[in-house]
């Protein structure tokens, strides 16, 4: 660099702009490798399979113009697909050593965490949008309540956000993606169980009904149930938003903890 080289005009970028830079880098990162395409293809195949299968969704057999057979399996689908998206969020940064680069750039920690989280969320949103042929199909075959379907999509996206936030937090704790994947599946599974029919039945055998109900109310499954029916309850939205906030704070705590270690 010559001494006379003009210094490019520099201005202090706002934190939001820096977050946007992280978001863009992260989101484009999904698409430079085959991972994104593999994920989207698997997501579409499996949702299609579950929705149209005679034994599972029974889309045609029900003879109803709605997407309930599509949404009802999302909690279970996400259990394995979302951790596959979230596992690399921080574990990969640590393994590649790029976390040292990221954390020494002038990006506030929250902006890095939220930027990465939003990128993963946007990626899942893209996969969800690609299921829209289903929506076109029901509209062709019948006369569905599109408000209900829209509510279902919003609810599904919110739930995906909750899964992703859990995955983000777990990913921040390890440098191994496989471990991040497995632990995320286990933690997410724990968030499903209390509302899972066989488990609630087992619980109600000895626990007071109120406790069973309270436990179930913390379950993604119970929360998503009403959403899948098309009821977008504010309480459910607040619940998923709280889970997201809680685990993003957890992510920050995990990263700060490693910094001080």
């Amino acid at each position: 660099m010559s001494d006379a080289a003009p210094i490019a005009p520099r201005r202090v970028a706002g934190s939001v702009q820096r977050m946007a830079a992280v978001f863009r880098r992260e989101l484009s990162g999904y698409f430079v490798t085959p991972v994104a395409y593999v994920f989207i293809v698997i997501f579409l195949l499996v949702t299609g399979l579950f929705t149209f299968s005679r034994d599972l969704g029974g889309f045609f057999e029900r003879g109803q113009a709605d997407l309930r057979p599509f949404f009802v399996f999302h909690p279970w689908l996400y259990l394995f697909l979302i951790p596959a998206v979230s596992m690399r969020l921080w574990a990969e940064e640590r393994r590649q050593g790029t976390i040292e680069l990221l954390m020494t750039l002038p990006i506030p920690l929250w902006a890095a965490i939220v930027g990465k989280f939003l990128a993963a969320w946007a990626f899942v949103a893209i996969a969800l949008v690609l299921t829209s042929p289903l929506w076109v199909t029901v509209n062709y075959l019948g006369d569905p309540d599109n408000g209900v379907i829209f509510a279902g999509y919003i609810g599904s996206l919110l739930m995906a956000g909750a899964y992703l936030a859990i995955g983000s937090c777990v990913s921040a704790l390890t440098r191994n993606q496989v471990i991040a994947f497995i632990i995320t599946v286990v933690v997410c599974f724990a968030f499903l169980l209390p509302g899972f029919g066989p488990v609630t039945a087992l619980l109600s055998a000895w626990a007071p009904p109120r406790l069973v109900e309270a436990a179930a109310s913390f379950s993604f499954l119970a929360r998503f149930e009403s959403v899948a029916k098309g009821v977008l309850d504010l309480r459910d939205m607040v619940y998923f938003a709280s889970v997201i906030a809680l685990f993003l704070f957890g992510t920050a705590a995990a990263i700060e903890g490693k910094k001080a270690a």
């Binding site: 660099m1 490019a8 590649q96 790029t98 680069l101 750039l105």
Partner: protein
Amino acid sequence: MIDIRALSKRFGSLVAVDGVSFTVQRGEVLGFLGPNGAGKSTTMKMVTGFLAPSAGTAVVCGHDVVQEPLAVKERIGYLPEGAPAYPDMTPASFLGFVGAVRGLRGAALQRRIDELVSTVHLEGVMRQPIDTLSKGYKRRVGLAAAILHDPEVLIMDEPTDGLDPNQKHEVRQLIREMSPHKAIVLSTHILEEVEAVCTRAVIIARGRIVADGTPAELQARSRTHNAVRIAVRIASPGMTVGVRQELARLRYVDTVEPCASSADSAAFVVRPKPGRAVLPEVAQCVRAKGWAVEELRTDEGRLDEVFREITTGHASKGGAK
């Protein structure tokens, strides 16, 4: 510009950095030396805000890294050890990302990137995934990212590690060119690098600073500093012993050691007493005796010798502050 104050870092019971303090001014290139595991990288990671200090702090351009980490990060350019970069990105997109975070955009960013491409010679690889680049190119990408915002303070952890001699030369050239306007700290264990680019050297061992001075000052601490190497043609078989005795008798001479020589000559290293020079005495003796001298030169002292003595705890002399 950089003021490191009693910086310490403990990992459990291990004290990695133990009360390190020094300052670096604009125009200085400080070589940070030490054996592997001495605490060089840990110190740099604390100054750049990647690790939180257990005690002490660093003030960069008037901003405390513990209190105002963002202000410090805005002013520092940092090349971490191994020059990590996102492997799936191309240098173009990677530098674009770093520039966006640094608040550069549009035409200004593009102009700056174009400038850097020719500065660190990235022509031809800008559209290749970083993953596929050679070590030398990766290092240059990291360096470009570190100096993209033309920082006042530049911190580099082993910037030339793993580069070939030509690449090393280029990087050193670049550092020299930038040095008048910046405060630069670079860690290395290549001592020739310190002699080549650094205006000052700090040696650290087991988390503590054990030496701080200009490379010349540190060289002066070498046992061979100002020692005279002399080779004399041997006329008769007994002459070798005679020459040695004559040399040992000279003023200020501490020791005379024989060293490797050819069949018809005798070579010695004449070490002076501390703080003395023996070359005039030796030269006078040569004239008086009429020896046929084949070689006569003064040793500047060897930095690697000083380094070894200091860092293994066998320092022979006092400090060169």
